[in-house]
């Protein structure tokens, strides 16, 4: 058996499907003001934060769950969820990694994120979020030297209230849509990043999310602020145990880029996708929005979406500053009964703004994939350009691939170009590869990787290798 085959067999089953037996503190089941107060209290939050949450909750109460999306799902009972779950050992936060619960450390080791070693070897600063709380952040010292703040958001609320107060909710306000508002009301933890003026962050920052407890929703909130002239590259990875019920993950991510700043945000999303019959899996309903606030700023989203039973997210860029740039690179792969409705929004407000969208969708098995995007050039956004390309690949005749772009151009000096194609892997290409000695699976792997290359290139090195493998694995068994 060759290496690839071995690797595939190894990974054929969702290898992150284990759960960790760990004692938890949970908020009472259900969603009401008391639960929100409980969360706020346990996190020792200041009054303004509680106010923020309650304001969002007020708004949430009048909102209805949206139903325009393509993948339909059974109604979620929001009163049947735990909104807060934390390992008991975290109650008094450990001061350093050595004090961490060994069970937690082991979990992250299994996930391939050995927090202790990582601190020494890898050169990537990691913030690990376990259920509702951030358990460890590595490389803190080195970052602090440069004035970079990288910590759990609950810590930032305590230690840097002026920054959090100023920017939290400035891109995704408490009056936003259903899931975003829910998050604003009950978010538990997440990462906070602040890059000071003129600093180029020396390493990749990374957050690792894990849902462990059953019946919990994970609501993390990430806030990244890049001050004038700074640069940061941020990575995000996610996994969850295999469970029969569907679990909800509704995160909010806010990015703010000031003058001349650049934020690069990469996601490799590998939540548990459910089993082959579509039972279980994560509902990944995430709101990600970036604001290019300053002149010449740039925000770039890269995502590889292979997991989750349902993925429903549109990382967006609001190009407010003149000459700002927004980019979106995406690979979304669905297999078995997975469903994805993903894409982006590029809202051009400033002059000379540019955006680029490259989206590659691959659907196999009985899955369904939708690209949904918006390009909106306002009447003031003179001289703006957008280029969109979305390609879909279909494997098998039970899956679906859809493209729903919305294109609005209100400015005569701006140009929009959009193209989309849908096809299957051509017989000629397969024949060519097989003729040269590849077996059909390898041939498909090669062609698919070529199809995705434009996006994979955008990922940081370590992630790119991982993602490339993930692309191959996700499609396992879909070629016949």
């Amino acid at each position: 058996m060759d290496n690839r085959q071995k690797e595939i067999n190894n990974l054929k089953d969702y290898k992150y499907g284990f759960s960790t037996d760990i004692e938890n503190i949970q908020a009472p089941k259900g969603l009401n003001e008391d639960v929100i107060k409980f969360i706020s209290n346990i996190k020792k939050e200041p009054a303004w934060m509680l106010e923020f949450r309650l304001k969002a909750f007020e708004r949430f109460k009048v909102l209805k769950e949206p139903d325009w999306q393509k993948p339909k799902f059974p109604k979620i009972d929001y009163q049947d969820l735990y909104y807060y779950s934390a390992p008991k050992s975290m109650k008094d936060k450990p001061k350093s990694l050595d004090e961490l619960d060994p069970k937690l450390l082991e979990t992250y080791k299994k996930l391939g994120i050995p927090l202790q070693e990582q601190a020494r070897l890898n050169g990537i600063a990691v913030d690990a979020v376990f259920d509702s709380v951030s358990v460890a952040t590595t490389f803190k010292d080195e970052l602090t030297k440069q004035g970079i703040i990288f910590c759990p958001i609950s810590e930032a609320i305590q230690n840097h209230p002026e920054l959090v107060k100023k920017y939290l909710g400035s891109v995704i306000p408490t009056s936003d849509h259903f899931f975003a508002t829910l998050n604003s009301a009950v978010f538990t933890d997440g990462s906070f990043v602040y890059i000071p003026e003129g600093v180029r962050c020396p390493m990749e920052l990374s957050t690792y999310f894990r849902i462990n407890a059953s019946n919990t929703g994970q609501f993390e909130r990430t806030l990244i602020i890049a001050d004038k002239g700074s640069y940061v590259s941020y990575l995000e990875g996610c996994t969850a145990p295999m469970r029969d019920e569907n679990q909800l993950h509704a995160a909010n991510v806010e990015l703010i880029a000031l003058d001349d700043a650049e934020i690069k945000y990469s996601t490799v999303q590998n939540w548990y996708p459910g089993d082959q019959d579509g039972k279980g899996g994560i509902y990944n309903f995430v709101t990600k929005r970036g604001l290019c606030k300053g002149k010449n700023s740039k925000i770039s989203w890269t995502q590889v979406e292979t997991g989750s039973a349902i993925t429903w997210k549109y990382p967006s860029c609001i190009l407010k500053g003149d000459n700002s740039v927004g980019e979106f690179y995406s690979i979304a792969i669905t297999n078995n009964h997975q469903k994805a409705d993903t894409g982006t929004k590029m809202i051009h407000l400033g002059k000379n703004t540019k955006s680029k969208i490259i989206s590659k969708g691959i659907s196999a098995g009985s899955s369904d994939m939708t690209y949904r995007g918006l390009v909106d050039i306002s009447s003031k956004a003179k001289n703006s350009t957008n280029y969109t390309q979305c390609d879909s690949l279909l494997m098998g005749n039970k899956c679906g691939a859809h493209t729903v772009p919305y294109i609005k151009n209100k400015n005569s000096e701006s140009n929009i170009a959009h193209e989309a194609t849908t096809s299957k892997i051509s017989e000629e290409q397969l024949h060519y590869c097989q003729q040269r000695g590849l077996n059909p699976e390898e041939a498909v792997g090669l062609i698919v990787n070529g199809f995705c290359k434009e996006v994979l290139q955008q990922l940081p090195m370590e992630f790119a290798v991982e993602a490339q493998k993930l692309v191959g694995i996700s499609l396992e068994g879909s070629v016949g």
Partner: protein, 415 residues
């Protein structure tokens, strides 16, 4: 609006000899429309075009009853010169003339179908309105293997006698095996502030060929909505061309079902808009069986604060392997205030298909203007030449040379 609708409804059915059952059906449609109202932007299909608001702002109070007792005089000056053709004349929504003078009488049958009700896929509350208020509906049946010698022109004429009225029209066409029909819809309005609501249903049998050209060229202040439903059997071909220019507001919808193998559908459109006009084309091509083909090309030239919308959808069923679907929309925005919105959509459930779409919008290419000006043309001439070429591309897609020339003349396009 509810009282007005009910009052006008009883006035209009009073003059018709309808059975109790027909009245009940019409009543049901009326209630359904009262319930839903005019489509507004909360409905996905009307996202870019809020008809409810447009009617409110442009017409205000609309009345629905038309006294159709007296005939209108047919003004022959509106007839197209230099092209021999058959005629159907609508004046203020009343059929005044059906004339197939160039055809064999026994090959075309005109059937009164006033009692039938339209139920279309992908339609909206306007079909209910249409069902409730249409008083005459004819079906034109082209018999087996008969190909009409001359095109049929339907004149839609309104005159200043009507004001703030809703006019509902309906026509059904059946093209039997191996038959063909060339149909031109010519809008000629000298009225203002009326709402025209037109439903056509086409049934194309094996090998039938339908060419439908909708020409809305003459300036008028009316609001138009037109819905074409086309069902296509094996090997049939439908070609739809839309020139969307004259009315203040217009929305054309095409719903095309490719039911038979090797059926193909072509939709081509030109928006040539100025002032505050707001036009939309929405097309839905349903590929329901294998080896079907569709092709769509929409081009827009937008001046002043005009607005054009194109919503095109290609749907491919899981049985529809070997589908070939293509869609392209291009727009030139000539003014700061003009706006182009597009939603080119693909919904695909079969894997062995070739589907693509493209959409581009922007200004006139400065480099091209420079090139032409450097060769001695004035700015205005260069601009005209470029726009001419841009639109010619679509007009050239018209497969009937007689009609192509007619439309070229109307648009003032030179080769």
């Amino acid at each position: 609006m509810k009282e007005q609708l009910q009052k006008d409804f009883y006035n209009s059915i009073k003059n018709l000899s309808l059975s109790q059952k027909d009245i009940e059906i019409k009543k049901f449609c009326l209630d359904s429309f009262i319930d839903k109202g005019f489509p507004n932007k909360k409905e996905e299909d009307w996202k870019f075009t809020d008809l409810n608001q447009i009617i409110k702002n442009n017409i205000g109070e609309l009345s629905f009853y038309n006294d159709q007792a007296s005939t209108n005089k047919v003004d022959t000056s509106v007839f197209v010169d230099g092209l021999e053709h058959n005629k159907i004349v609508f004046i203020n929504g009343r059929i005044e003339k059906i004339d197939f003078e160039y055809e064999k009488k026994d090959q075309i049958e005109i059937i009164d179908q006033s009692e039938t009700i339209n139920e279309f896929e992908n339609s909206n509350s306007l079909s209910d309105l249409n069902n409730a208020f249409t008083n005459k509906c004819f079906k034109i049946l082209v018999k087996k293997s008969y190909q009409l010698a001359k095109p049929l022109i339907i004149y839609h004429t309104t005159n200043s006698k009507i004001w703030s009225k809703n006019i509902n029209l309906r026509l059904n066409f059946e093209l039997d095996k191996d038959s063909s029909l060339r149909l031109i819809d010519l809008f000629n309005d000298t009225s203002e502030k009326n709402f025209l609501n037109i439903f056509y249903n086409f049934e194309l049998k094996e090998n039938a060929v339908l060419k439908n050209y909708k020409v809305d060229k003459f300036e008028n202040k009316n609001i138009k909505y037109s819905f074409n439903n086309i069902d296509q059997d094996k090997n049939s071909i439908s070609e739809t061309f839309i020139l969307s220019s004259g009315s203040n507001f217009s929305k054309n919808e095409i719903n095309c079902n490719l039911n038979g193998v090797y059926a193909s559908a072509f939709v081509n459109g030109v928006f040539s808009l100025n002032n505050d006009k707001h036009h939309e084309i929405r097309s839905i091509i349903n590929h329901l069986t294998e080896n079907t083909k569709s092709y769509q090309l929409i081009k827009s030239v937008l001046e002043q604060s005009s607005k054009a919308v194109y919503q095109g959808k290609i749907f491919v069923n899981s049985d529809a392997q070997k589908t070939d679907g293509y869609q392209l929309s291009k727009a030139i925005l000539l003014n700061k205030e003009s706006e182009f919105n597009a939603k080119p959509e693909l919904e695909i459930y079969a894997d062995d298909v070739k589907c693509s779409h493209g959409s581009a919008s922007g200004s006139l290419n400065e480099d091209s203007i420079f090139y032409l000006m450097s060769r001695g043309l004035s700015y205005q001439q260069s601009r005209e030449l470029l726009i001419n070429g841009f639109l010619l591309d679509v007009v050239e897609k018209i497969t009937d040379s007689e009609i192509k020339n007619l439309i070229k003349n109307m648009l003032g396009i030179k080769e």
